[in-house]
């Protein structure tokens, strides 16, 4: 099923370690992805914006959430549950391409950080997916 939901500023969308039930697409607003250490200290690792997809990894591999997602401002989100997610990735090539490119871009970002680790304080830019001209991507939902 696909629904719409609203998160207010600073509300937690999901927490690291929780079971992964949904993926989200941002209709408006900004979302921060945080890593948490053993002492509960949060570090912002990525900022996502309109048309970005997040929370998809847990639906692909069924592992718990690897990070915490927090609304950085009031957010309007499309929520996709596992069944609908599977259906979209099975029958919508367009969705599949967005999915696979999102993951590849993030992996390249992360590998880039890893290579530079120790050389400089790394700067992370937002995922590239929304820059690639997917202006109509909302139409598939």
């Amino acid at each position: 099923m696909e629904t719409t939901t609203i998160f207010l500023k600073e509300e937690v969308i999901f927490r690291k370690g929780e079971a992964s039930k949904y993926a989200y697409i941002i209709k408006s607003g900004k979302v921060g992805i945080y890593k948490e250490n053993d002492y509960g200290k949060r570090i912002l690792v990525r900022i996502l914006r309109k048309a970005d997809l997040f929370g998809e990894m847990g639906l692909i591999d069924k592992y718990p959430r690897s990070a915490t997602a927090v609304a950085l401002e009031a957010c309007d989100l499309t929520v996709v549950d596992r069944t609908h997610f599977m259906r979209l990735s099975k029958y919508s090539p367009k969705f599949f391409i967005i999915l696979i490119k999102t993951l590849t871009n993030r992996l390249r970002d992360t590998l880039g950080q890893l290579k530079n680790d120790g050389k400089q304080v790394e700067t992370i830019t937002r995922t590239q997916i929304s820059k690639r001209g997917n202006k109509n991507e909302n139409s598939i939902f």
Partner: protein, 127 residues
């Protein structure tokens, strides 16, 4: 699908080159090597075996190889070409699901490498 054979220590592809093929190992072992580590040393980042997939990032986004792949013994691979990939993407995307799993798995393990639970990372975000 095309099959290719590599002898021990043959390069399958080199970091920094362009390539749009992915590979699946039929027999043998492949080493994934990072050539441009910050301390200038080569580092083996993964050793892959039968049924493992590699090179999928180049296939998906046509960007440069992020690491070198070398045969660690006589190795046979199945080549997934851009043409096959595009065909499947159009007609049967679900057949490409193993690629999603590989990407998701690598993203988790790579992110974990950046993160030290006791110290935390040295990361700064630009919005």
């Amino acid at each position: 699908m095309i099959l290719k054979n590599y002898k021990k220590y043959d390069f399958i592809f080199r970091e920094g080159t362009y390539g749009d093929r992915a590979y699946m190992i039929d027999t043998g072992r492949v080493g994934i090597i990072s050539e441009t580590d910050h301390d200038g040393k080569r580092k083996v980042v993964a050793i892959l075996r039968k049924n493992d997939i590699f090179g999928e990032m180049g296939l998906i986004d046509n960007e440069v190889r992020t690491a070198t792949a070398i045969a660690l013994e006589d190795t046979q691979v199945s080549v997934i070409s851009k043409k096959t990939f595009d065909y499947l993407l159009k007609h049967d995307p679900f057949a490409l699901r193993p690629l999603l799993e590989v990407l998701s798995h690598r993203l988790r393990s790579t992110t974990d490498l950046l993160w030290d639970n006791s110290k935390g990372p040295v990361l700064k975000v630009r919005s």
